[in-house]
Subunit: 304 residues, 2 copies
């Protein structure tokens, strides 16, 4: 199967610490790399990773708090210095372009590539990106300002052809695409060979969702149902539940509740408050309810 990986570049919250960078991650599906959020220092984190700058063509910004977007202007500028010419697509609240365009006009004159801003409405659940193999949907979040998560889904895949059967029935190459799509095969003497004798099941379609920054949103459970991997913010421990509610963030236990109720296969928690010098307190609280939880950390790669 193609790679489907989530690379964590930063999983801290508003205040930077020596342990955590501001929010950013890269979702790699095959050779495509999609960046989610771009806090200050993202380009440095990207440099430290084994990801190629030039493979990033799409950036999704969840919301316009600095710890999720202050790294954009530096990365845009660096892409230019590196001689990029492929267009860069940025999906964000319309205000982003208004804020970043004047900076680009001043700092990035003669950028050798085009930036295409795609306005998104964080309050709506909508497909905002689609290609032949995947879709990306927004998931409205509840934060102090408009904010959305992102759901990456592989489209249904084609069935696997069984090579021996192609030879046995001497099936011509031009029919094979149809057989991958589920066609039966009719031999020259009129015998119908059902598709399930010619093919094996398609690989499952995998899915990943990023939910940060937000209060728990049980109304998103229908979209998160049985997804492979969920990154959910867990800014606070349960002892700071009041603070979490006040600041429109979630506790680790609340993240676990969402994971449990949506029957996701695995949960990663992140966006840790700078007050925790050991994030295991958050991990322990989440695992109590949802054992298949892991901590995000800078440099981590989670494969599906």
């Amino acid at each position: 199967m193609e790679k489907f990986e989530v690379h964590i570049l930063g999983c801290g919250s508003a205040l930077p610490t020596t342990r955590h960078n501001a929010s950013s991650q890269v979702v790699r599906i095959g050779n495509k790399q999609f960046m989610i959020d771009c806090g200050e220092g993202t380009q440095l984190q990207l440099r430290k990773s084994h990801l190629h700058f030039s493979f990033i063509n799409h950036i999704f910004i969840s919301h316009l708090h600095g710890d999720h977007c202050f790294g954009l202007i530096g990365m845009i500028s660096t892409f230019g210095l590196l001689g990029r010419n492929a267009p860069l697509h940025i999906y964000a609240h319309p205000m982003l372009q208004k804020i970043i365009q004047p900076q680009m006009d001043f700092f990035c004159k003669e950028l050798p590539y085009h930036i295409e801003f795609h306005n998104i409405d964080p309050t709506q659940h909508k497909t905002i990106y689609e290609d032949k193999s995947i879709t990306v949907e927004t998931l409205p979040q509840k934060h102090r300002i408009p904010c959305c998560g992102f759901l990456f889904k592989e489209k249904p895949k084609k069935r696997h052809i069984i090579g021996e059967m192609m030879e046995y029935y001497n099936i011509p190459t031009y029919l094979r695409q149809g057989i991958k799509d589920g066609d039966d095969f009719t031999t020259t003497d009129g015998q119908i060979i059902p598709n399930d004798r010619l093919t094996r099941n398609a690989d499952p379609s995998r899915s990943y969702a990023y939910c940060s920054d937000t209060l728990p949103c049980p109304e998103n459970k229908i979209y998160l149902n049985e997804i492979n991997l969920l990154y959910h913010e867990a800014t606070f421990a349960e002892s700071e539940k009041g603070r979490a509610a006040e600041t429109y963030h979630s506790t680790a236990l609340q993240a676990a509740e969402i994971a449990l109720e949506a029957k996701v296969h695995k949960l990663i928690i992140g966006h840790f408050s700078s007050r925790y010098t050991d994030d295991n307190i958050l991990l322990d609280e989440a695992k109590e309810l949802f054992p298949n939880t892991e901590l995000a950390y800078e440099g981590a790669t989670f494969s599906i």
Copy 2:
């Protein structure tokens, strides 16, 4: 003597690498901390250092290229989150305020402290900061856009009182400030005790200059004459002298020439091009001409 230290937070050039951050440093004189330049990631570097965020009240920006100022908005925002209330003074080309104010208006609403922008004219040599013990002067540089270096100088210091002599002549406390300033003392029977019997020489006044980004500027030698420490950019090795001239940067050897001709006591080179995986090539070239040269590196502290 009071501390006089230069803390390197970043000494790379436009492209970030895994070894070098964008330009920033802190000049610490006693309890005062002055930041020079603030590239992306400066607040993270500051976190890793042992410097206190709250002691930084003055930031000097050499020029408006991104690798010297993209870290400002994040740091301004973080200072706010940390509850700062002391005013922050930023000395920069007037365009900086025009670019950063809209970002502050959007991202840093209700900042709990005031930011005072001080416009500087990088083309003029001028004293732009003065307090009771130090001055900061601009040093015009030659770069692709207006750019200036900064010269930090301690003012002449008071002489040291010799305690035993104060007792011997029974000199009243209220006269001691005058004696530190050089006054003689007249005893009750009219005898004049010359100041040099009552005091020891004052500590020398120390000085530090930051010159980056720039072509060599021999016309600044008069200001750099015999200063204690010079940080000079050395973006390129001598083999890239043509490239240095084209991009308005200096080679390591050119930095050494300035240091030698200005008779500075010690040279630090920095602002290294990302092409060098071992900066010692630059150090060797500079030391050939000016042996008392050291490489800047992230986390380094140079004491005067």
